[in-house]
Amino acid sequence: MHSAISLSLSSPSPIARSSAVNDTCPSPPRSLRFCGLRREAFGAGASSAATSLRLTSSDSRSQHSNLNGVFAALKGSSSGFDYDLVIIGAGVGGHGAALHAVEKGLKTAIIEGDVVGGTCVNRGCVPSKALLAVSGRMRELQNEQHMKSFGLQVAAAGYDRQKVADHANNLASKIRGNLTNSMKALGVDILTGFGTILGPQKLKFGKGDSGDKIITAKDIIVATGSVPLVPKGIEVDGKTVITSDHALKLEFVPQWIAIVGSGYIGLEFSDVYTALGSEVTFVEALDQIMPGFDPEIGKLAQRVLVNPRKIDSYTGVFASKITPAKDGKPVQIELIDAKTKEPKETLEVDAALIATGRAPFTKGLGLENINVQTQRGFVPVDERMRVIDANGKFVPHLYCIGDANGKMMLAHAASAQGISVVEQVTGNAHVLNHLSIPAACFTHPEISMVGLTEPQAREKAEKEGFEVSIVKTSFKANTKALAENEGEGMAKLIYRPDNGEILGVHIFGLHAADLIHEASNAIAMGTLIQDIKFAVHAHPTLSEVLDELFKSAKVKLTAPKTVAQAVPV
């Protein structure tokens, strides 16, 4: 019944909206563009009346759905199960799913065996942002020329390691508290213990002893996340050979640290450590550091983030053996050639950070009870996050989101996947477009991206037979960036000149991580370049870097819009 209320409020609104658009908008139907989740028709020339209608309808909807959540929690599941939805793992993915489930009126529980917040909040993105906030300031204060160019005089900048570490820790607890409270306030049951699936729609939770409780749920989401991946031969002692888990506690700042792996995690830590005075050596198995970034962005990033800093690198090598410092000897890293496996050098450093990636955490989940075999530890799923068993069949009512399925190992991707699953279980067919999920690396300056890299786009274009165009803009031409004395950087747009579709956007520069969303939203909504280029950006802001990017793109429209207009003869 409650869900009926929510439906009656939410579903007519798109209809009302589209009719309003048609009534009030005098432009010909050809200017109507279908965007968003392709449920809403929203005219390019939509009047403000239509917009305001949209705002009011969504307001009332959220109010009512919050109410629904409270009712649902009080009443219990409407489906005959203990819960409508149980989520295993209270990381960012589980949290996002839980909040959306409550909004949709589902009776929801979340099982957490460790601390609420998962990797991101406790051992990942959140504390690392605190450290990076410190490193960014240190870097700026230490850069005498930069300060002088502002006319500022700064005496030697220093730091208190313990207080920096405290800042990171305090931030994590604060965000953890916020997450916990937000779920409690909405009536999500937080169940403590490890969750194990016993069979379809049935699971237990607890410490794994006789005190475990068995519950049933209409739908189950696995969101157990991941742990740092430590390759064979590497002995992690948590002091001199560490993973990101330890590094974020910042228990000591080594003079010289080797970072094994030069992806996001390695790069962010190199930013932190070099700002705090360490020298860094990258050990990368691939032929170049910073693999995975668009090559051009990677090249620029290397020029700015690596070359001028106290960093060197070994590429095309594996760290076959890493021994922690002991008996008066430094950390020993044995390198072998990544291809021939021949021994190369041995590095002697003060510490080694293992940032080779992350491994899914699916142990003890009871996947064997439902005949699911993990692939390299990941839970196999389809594009709707439905879990696939060993026979290639869907396990009914079981979904897996986030790092555990390995589709895109980012906190916000997990959350988006969770929301997508909740949409599906409440009757809305929904497929998440992973190409619209942005990613960011919070170095100074930041790197961000969404969609395809240039090589990926070119490959796709060749396969599907379309043309690819590239445009670039520089932060050097942006007023706000210059005011900040931060002109270093570029934005790159990869698009189809034939129809104006955005294939990928990559940004390197000041606040790149905050700037990417205009592009990621455009991709999610299916907005085309010829439309978004008319959007207005406040001046002077960094967002004009993207504005200029869209404006400099050249779309060859085969059917010009002007045809419909009367041509005076």
């Binding site: 010289w256 051009e296 031409a477």
Partner: protein, 461 residues
């Protein structure tokens, strides 16, 4: 990344060979002492990537020293005030030497690298590069390979036969061309630290001076040079404010100290200016300035006295300049600069005046290109315009002579017959390098100059 090609054609010796200089005005010219082979070594210039660019930063060298380049290949990435650009070569050859290394800045037009045509020229190019870059430290100071320096932990801790250097130490070593293999590390576990490398390179830690950008600012100053006292502590006067030198002031200071090594002498000459003043009145309306008149007159006199336009660069030889480039001192808010009127002997007064106006505007906007302030062969300093009746100037290093022009004012003079008349007269005072210019040379030059000023019609021709 946009691409741009630069023309790396002219070697610094080319002004000697500039054909116009030979064809237009044949005159006794000392033979060029430069071996012809030099023409095959090309300089790679800092290109002007935009109209507002005055200097560029080398982002990275795509090629390393010794790499073979073919036409159209990108060689270096340069950052301008607008963007980063890949710069390509126009010529085939070998990248013989990198003069301005990564991360450093060089003014537009300055040589940033040398391109040799064949391997045979590599050594010569390298020698030239070494001469060009005053920063290039003495090749790795031979540091004794002491087997166990005191602060190093026991030899057992050291992995034998292997040098451990920290990332920054390696970077510095590459920059200063120090072989880390020859250093004894003083860091933990005997590793080579950045300090070790700096010590070996013979530099004090952390000074990041940019050698190439410090283009010589020619600097005549109307003040007696203070004797260079090394590290004398002066009594402190309470309440004094210490204001560090700007880049320009620091350059002036450097040049002033340098000038002390040149043996100079001074010769003065009174010159009547009535005729010049009359001419000035006539042409003033056409935009001709007094500076242009004086520069033109000096240039014309210099053509007849090439030795005064010469200089002594190495203490062993004359360097006769083929062009007459008159540098004129201009006071700035925070120092002074000497924009150069190139080929002042060949330009007419109107062109010269126009050129001068442009140069002054550029100087005030700090947009002078290096060759517009450092290519002078003779300097003119006119404090006369401020009423100063006589002064002498300090000879800017690298030039042979500088002329200090005093104010023209009515003076009682007695002629040959003993009659007194009142004539406008100015005192000019030339400071010259006695290694190349002798008293009689200056006297002859001044006589010619006087004749031109007193019969200024030739100036307008």
């Amino acid at each position: 990344m946009a691409s741009l090609s630069f023309s790396s054609s002219v070697s610094s010796s080319i002004p000697f060979l500039r054909p116009s200089a030979l064809l237009l005005r044949p005159r006794p010219r000392p033979p060029s002492r430069l071996p012809p082979v030099r023409a095959k070594i090309r300089e790679i210039f800092m290109p002007a990537l935009s109209s507002t660019m005055t200097e560029g930063k080398i982002v990275s060298w795509v090629k390393s020293e010794g790499d073979v380049l073919s036409k159209g290949e990108s060689v270096v990435v340069v950052e301008s005030d607008k963007a980063d650009m890949d710069v390509e070569t126009f010529y085939d050859g070998i990248l013989a030497a990198i003069v301005v290394s990564e991360g450093e800045t060089a003014p537009v037009g300055a040589a940033i690298g040398l391109l040799a045509e064949t391997e045979a020229e590599l050594d010569e190019a390298r020698a030239r590069a070494a001469a060009k870059s005053p920063s290039s430290p003495a090749p790795a100071a031979p540091v004794a390979e002491s087997p166990a320096p005191a602060p190093v932990p026991s030899a057992a801790d050291l992995t034998p036969g292997k040098v451990v250097a920290t990332p920054f130490a390696k970077k510095l070593a590459k920059q200063h061309k120090v072989d880390v293999g020859k250093l004894a590390g003083t860091g933990p576990f005997g590793r080579v630290t950045p300090e070790d490398v700096e010590k070996a390179a013979g530099i004090a830690p952390a000074p990041k001076t940019n050698v190439v950008a410090a283009a010589p600012v020619a600097t005549p100053v109307a003040a007696p040079a203070a004797p260079a006292k090394a590290a004398v502590s002066y009594p402190e006067i309470p309440g004094a404010k210490i204001v560090p030198f700007t880049t320009m002031q620091a350059a002036v200071s450097r040049n002033m100290i340098e000038s002390l090594s040149v043996p100079t002498f001074r010769v003065g000459y009174p010159i009547a200016t009535d005729a010049l003043d009359a001419l000035y009145k006539k042409v003033k309306g056409k935009g001709v300035t007094m500076t242009a008149l004086l520069a033109k007159a000096a240039a014309m006199a210099l053509v007849q006295h090439p030795v005064v336009n010469a200089s002594c660069k190495d203490g062993k030889s004359f360097t006769y300049n083929s062009s007459v480039n008159i540098a004129v001192a201009v006071a700035m808010d925070d120092g002074l600069i000497t924009p150069v009127l190139q080929d002042a002997d060949k330009l007419d007064l109107y062109l010269l005046s126009k050129k001068w106006k442009e140069l002054v505007e550029k100087a005030q906007a700090k947009q002078l290109q290096p060759q517009e302030y450092n290519s002078g062969t003779f300097t003119l300093s006119n404090l006369g315009m401020f009423g100063v009746d006589r002064f002498d100037a300090i000879l800017p290093p690298g030039q042979g002579a500088i002329m200090a022009v005093g104010a023209s004012k009515p003076t009682v003079v007695a002629d040959k017959e003993g009659f007194f008349t009142v004539k406008n007269q100015m005192l000019v005072n030339v400071t010259a390098d006695h290694r190349v210019i002798y008293g009689a040379d200056l006297a002859a030059f001044l006589q010619t100059f006087m004749k031109i000023i007193q019969n200024p019609e030739s100036l307008t021709m």
